[in-house]
């Protein structure tokens, strides 16, 4: 019984470390995807042939979280035509991520002004997110291995101690 308990505690400790490391990697990947999607949106807006919901859908062509969010926003705008882009974002984004603030600013500015102003808004948001993505990638590279190692080492030590 004591052995089982010690093994379980060790495994839990290791899992917590690995989970934190994966969350850091996921953050970096999500931010990097946002940057790519926004670059695509910027190109589509410069072309000026699609409505904004169509441009969001066209740019969001993968199964990643940013793509899902943009597709959900386009669907929300189609169901509630009077909703603004900022309202659609607020309604569809329910998780508190680091990029929410620049994105909220982007979607407020994306719903008004000339084409140049809107393209500029997307480019500025993309730049902000690029910086966030770079910081997240650096953090992930440094801290992910550390958390993973800490988790595994802590797990092993805990198991030995409890045994």
């Amino acid at each position: 019984m004591r052995t089982v308990f010690a093994l379980m505690a060790g495994l839990l400790c290791a899992a917590a470390g690995v989970r934190h490391a994966s969350a850091l990697k996921a953050d970096a990947a999500r931010l990097s995807r946002w940057y790519k999607v926004l670059q695509h949106v910027s190109i589509l807006l410069k072309e000026g042939t699609l409505s904004i919901p169509d441009a969001l859908c066209t740019a969001a062509d993968s199964p990643f979280p940013p793509d899902k969010l943009l597709r959900a926003m386009a669907a929300h705008l189609s169901e509630t035509p009077i909703a603004t882009l900022a309202e659609a974002f607020r309604s569809c984004c329910c998780i508190d991520y680091a990029e929410n603030e620049p994105l909220q600013r982007l979607f407020t500015r994306l719903g008004q002004g000339s084409r140049d102003v809107r393209v500029l808004a997307v480019e500025q948001a993309a730049e902000e997110i690029r910086l966030l993505a770079a910081a997240a990638a650096e953090k992930s590279e440094k801290d992910a291995k550390l958390w993973q190692t800490l988790g595994l080492t802590g797990g092993i030590c805990l198991t030995i101690l409890l045994l």
Binding site: G48, L50, S51, P53, P81, I82, T84, G111, Q112, G113
Partner: protein, 294 residues
């Protein structure tokens, strides 16, 4: 787009008090919706105008315009620089507010008021004209704003296409009002034998269509410039009839406009039809090519 479709299209954009009023209107009754910032919204029908209890704030008005354009306002500067955009179903939304000039184009930066003109159908309104045309003939439809020139041209197109003479029609729809094209496909019925050139100026589209589609009749809306008149004359000299419309209250008014005076002096049109300014697609008077009342 019939009234049910129009109502279904417009309703989601408005608050409850406006939606209730829309529900109560009969088909063909509503002509315009006028929305001004901080002032009551007005419905204009054929016989009356009614102020409604909704005064949008400037921010709400801008959001409404953005939403009615289906979030594509940024991509439609060619239309907005002329003061309007065409909505789904061929309705026209006129815009007014603070404008500036940028790159020799007028740019509307703040929207203060909006006039939504409802596209309608009056089947058979062009029958009196058709009975005199005897197939492909050239007609100029004269009418004040809101008198139904575009609706009459659309009905004329439908009737010419279905008159049994296999007439091939070419429609020049510079402002997307006649056929309300989306991605080049007409959303409003303009006859089975009509080819529609959407969004191109009349002076560019008429020679294009005459050259490429060999039509029997060219139909176009709102002649105005010398270039339009030159394109119409060119089509007539190529043996193509032209049915067009022009802003004006009477034949005399129209004759005073330099571009149209040239066409009248050349006896370009077989008939002139003057519409009732009250709307409803009623023809007040038909004149022959010399301007004599028939």
């Amino acid at each position: 787009m019939n009234w049910t479709d129009t109502r279904q299209f417009l309703s989601p954009f408005f608050p409850e008090e406006i939606r209730v009023e829309l529900e109560m209107l009969l088909p063909g009754e509503l002509r315009e919706i006028r929305i001004r910032a901080n002032r009551p919204t007005v419905f204009i029908t054929g016989s009356r105008s009614a102020a409604l209890p909704w005064s949008p704030e400037p921010k709400q008005l801008n959001a409404l315009v953005e939403a009615l354009s289906e979030h594509s306002l940024y991509a439609r500067t060619d239309e907005t620089s002329q003061g309007y955009i065409t909505l789904r179903g061929g309705h026209r939304m006129g815009l007014c507010g603070r404008a500036s000039i940028s790159d020799r184009k007028s740019v509307l930066s703040d929207i203060g008021s909006v006039c939504i003109r409802i596209a309608s159908e009056w089947p058979g309104s062009a029958t009196p004209l058709l009975s005199r045309m005897n197939g492909a003939g050239s007609v100029l439809i004269i009418g004040a704003p809101g008198s139904g020139k575009t609706t009459m041209l659309r009905d004329l197109a439908c009737q010419l296409a279905g008159c049994g003479q296999s007439l091939q029609l070419a429609i020049v729809d510079e402002r997307s009002e006649l056929a309300a094209c989306v991605a080049g496909i007409p959303q409003l019925y303009v006859g089975d034998t009509a080819d529609v050139m959407d969004g191109l100026s009349k002076s560019a589209a008429i020679p294009w269509l005459v050259r490429s589609m060999s039509p029997d009749v060219v139909i176009t809306d709102e002649l105005g410039s010398d270039a339009d008149a030159a394109a119409v004359l060119d089509a007539l000299h190529c043996g193509v009839a032209v049915c067009a419309s022009v802003h004006g209250a009477s034949l005399q008014d129209v004759a005073a406009r330099p571009a149209i005076a040239v066409l009248m002096a050349r006896r370009a049109f077989d008939f002139y039809a003057v519409l009732d300014p009250q709307g409803g697609g009623q023809i007040l008077q038909i004149h022959d090519r010399l301007g004599n009342p028939l």
